[in-house]
């Protein structure tokens, strides 16, 4: 799946978190337990592409986002950023690369330091990267403030986060990520905390910045409807595995994996005339400590084929152009 145009290339990435047991429990059990948050996923992110990572809570999408940025260390696998293997780089070696890769967090009420001025918050990555004289940094900050529509910039520069609304705070977070001119940005549920009427304007702002600067954008969300309109390509995750990956049009019109179908069925539609009788699958996402054997979805799958699903893990294979699916229904 490697492609020369890819900005980020992830191969068989795993992140297992050890489970801490009590002293006696660890004596009895003898073995170590792990939460297999991300368990072997691969994908490529092209230049200027918006790639959506969709899944329920506990599917490992946030862990994936943080691991590819090396905010947490991967357990195994490979992360290649612009042709360079960054999997085993130390934090110090990562530092010069950080101005190329940035993140926007979910909660703008917690991701901004309440004691810092907006201008200082946005300027901090520039100072850490020693990107010039303080006056140059100030100039850059004022420019980006204007770009994210916090005008007049001179006024917003001297405000504190508590003086801003949720939407404005998230604009500050967007400005902080884009001020260093990154080539790759991870956005982890960037609009889920915002009110519906505000949401679209922040999305639109991010879209403009991404397209203008041809940034590669990893958009993490649980909202399939939003992802469908915002992303070029979408990958669906379930319990640390990638179940399906396709262009957003293809994924919605021609879902192949039963899990993707179930997700699409469950998304409410804002049109009372198209109310359908829904097949809602039973149960909830199982624990990632002891995930089901074989295909992880087999315990809830409406198209369960029998022993093969229980015993053998289906590989992610290409069934159409750029359409990958991991399901035994599509075995040769």
């Amino acid at each position: 799946m490697t492609n020369d145009n890819s900005v980020l290339s992830v191969h068989n990435l795993k992140k297992w978190f050890p489970v801490r047991l009590g002293f006696f429990q660890s004596l009895i059990k003898g073995e170590k337990l792990f939460v297999k948050a991300v368990d072997g996923i691969s994908f490529d992110l092209m230049k200027g592409e918006i790639f959506g990572l969709v899944g329920e809570s506990g599917s490992g999408k946030t862990t994936t986002g943080r691991t590819v940025l090396k905010l947490i260390e991967p357990t195994s696998g490979k992360i290649i950023f612009k042709g360079k293997d960054i999997t085993n780089l130390s934090p110090k070696e990562m530092r010069p690369l950080r101005k190329k890769m940035q993140i926007i967090f979910q909660d703008p009420y917690e991701s901004l330091n309440p004691k810092m001025l907006v201008g200082d918050i946005i300027g901090e990555p520039l100072r850490i990267q020693s990107a010039g004289h303080p006056s140059e940094i100030e100039e850059k900050v004022l420019k980006i403030l204007e770009e994210v529509d916090l005008v007049p910039p001179e006024e917003f520069y001297y405000r504190y986060p508590h003086e801003l609304s949720g939407g404005q705070r998230q604009r500050v977070a967007v400005a902080r990520a884009f001020v260093v001119d990154p080539e790759f940005v991870v956005a982890d549920e960037p609009v889920s905390m915002l009110d519906v009427s505000i949401r679209a304007s922040v999305l639109k702002l991010m879209l403009e910045l991404v397209r203008e600067r041809s940034v590669s954008f990893l958009y993490i969300t649980h909202d399939l409807a939003l992802a469908r309109h915002f992303c070029d390509r979408i990958a669906v995750m379930y319990l640390g595995k990638m179940m399906e990956q396709a262009s957003s049009d293809e994924l919605v019109k021609n879902p192949l994996h039963p899990y993707t179908e179930a997700l699409l069925q469950a998304v409410p539609v804002p049109d009372p005339t198209s109310r359908r009788i829904k097949v809602v699958i039973k149960g909830e996402i199982p624990s990632a400590i002891n995930p089901p054997s074989g295909c992880r979805f087999h315990t809830r799958c409406p198209k369960y084929l029998g022993d093969i699903c229980k015993q053998k893990e289906p590989p992610l294979v290409e069934v159409g152009k750029g359409h990958f699916v991991a399901c035994h229904l599509y075995d040769e």
Binding site: E56, S57, S165, G167, D195, V196, S197, I198, R199, A200, S201, L203, K204, H222, L224, A225, L226, R228, H229, F230, S248, D249, V252, A262, L263, L264, Q265, A266, V267, P268, V269, P270, D271, P272, T273, S274, R275, K278, V280, I281, K282, E284, I285
Partner: protein
Amino acid sequence: MLDPMLNIKDLTVYYKILRGYVKAVEGVNLQLKKGETLGLAGESGCGKTTMALTIMRLLPPNGRIVRGKILFDGKNIVELPEDEVRKEIRWKKIAIVFQGAMNALNPVYNIGEQIVEAIRYHEPNVDKNEALERAKKLLELVGIDPSRVKNYPHEFSGGMRQRAMIAMALACNPKLLIADEPGTALDVIVQAQVLKLLVELKQKLDLSLILITHDLSIISETCEKAAIMYAGKLVESGSVYKIFKEPLHPYTQGLIAAFPDIHAPRAEIKSIEGQPPDLLNPPRGCRFHPRCQYAMDICKIKSPPYIEVEKDHFVACHLVKS
């Protein structure tokens, strides 16, 4: 024609805080017929939860019903003494499923004890064993194995806790169920399961339902009627078909455009400029005028009346003439 089961007239609720009065709900008129499902939608802080708490007479001490009536089966709930509300109305006639099922259950009592408490508080002559049997039946009704009646909330998943909350709300056979953001903190599939359960229960038990949510698409999937609130006022209400297909108020139009339809062709999602006002000092005239693209001079001075443009379709906007 039947009288509406719930008839809210000119309801106004303020919260007193240090800096003045928060005008959370102002002059709301709303009707609900028996067996109807009403979706109440709006952004955070628009007063939708305050409406629910007011109907239940559960306002916090700093909240006050300034004026208005809530007629339930002809009885004005606003004027009833607390004792009578507790004995006659709350839980027996009107019950509520609170927002955030994760935190609404008491972690140190098991599920059965909590349901038994609800039953015996409102129906003191029921003995313990009988109440426990009823609790088991209720759990079965919402799709939880009755043998788990002795489980504690932490042993339940998010979806099951939400189901347990619904079971508890149904403990005294209410006629009206209010569900405040029943799907919010849940994953899409679990949310769909819970909504399906609510719709099934409504039919099975002949309930009337008020569904409070910020997510318009949930209303379009489950309700017959929709009411849209903005900054403490009702801006539009009507059948879901009218609201979604021919919305009249600019705010309703904007809100609907802000919801992406997953099956529609890929398109840009629209937003409404600006942000909701501070309800300590709401704007004069129409509360939506600072964000409205059609705002006229009159909108800044005079609050538009809430008029019936056609049968059961109400709107409050100077653009719309009856």
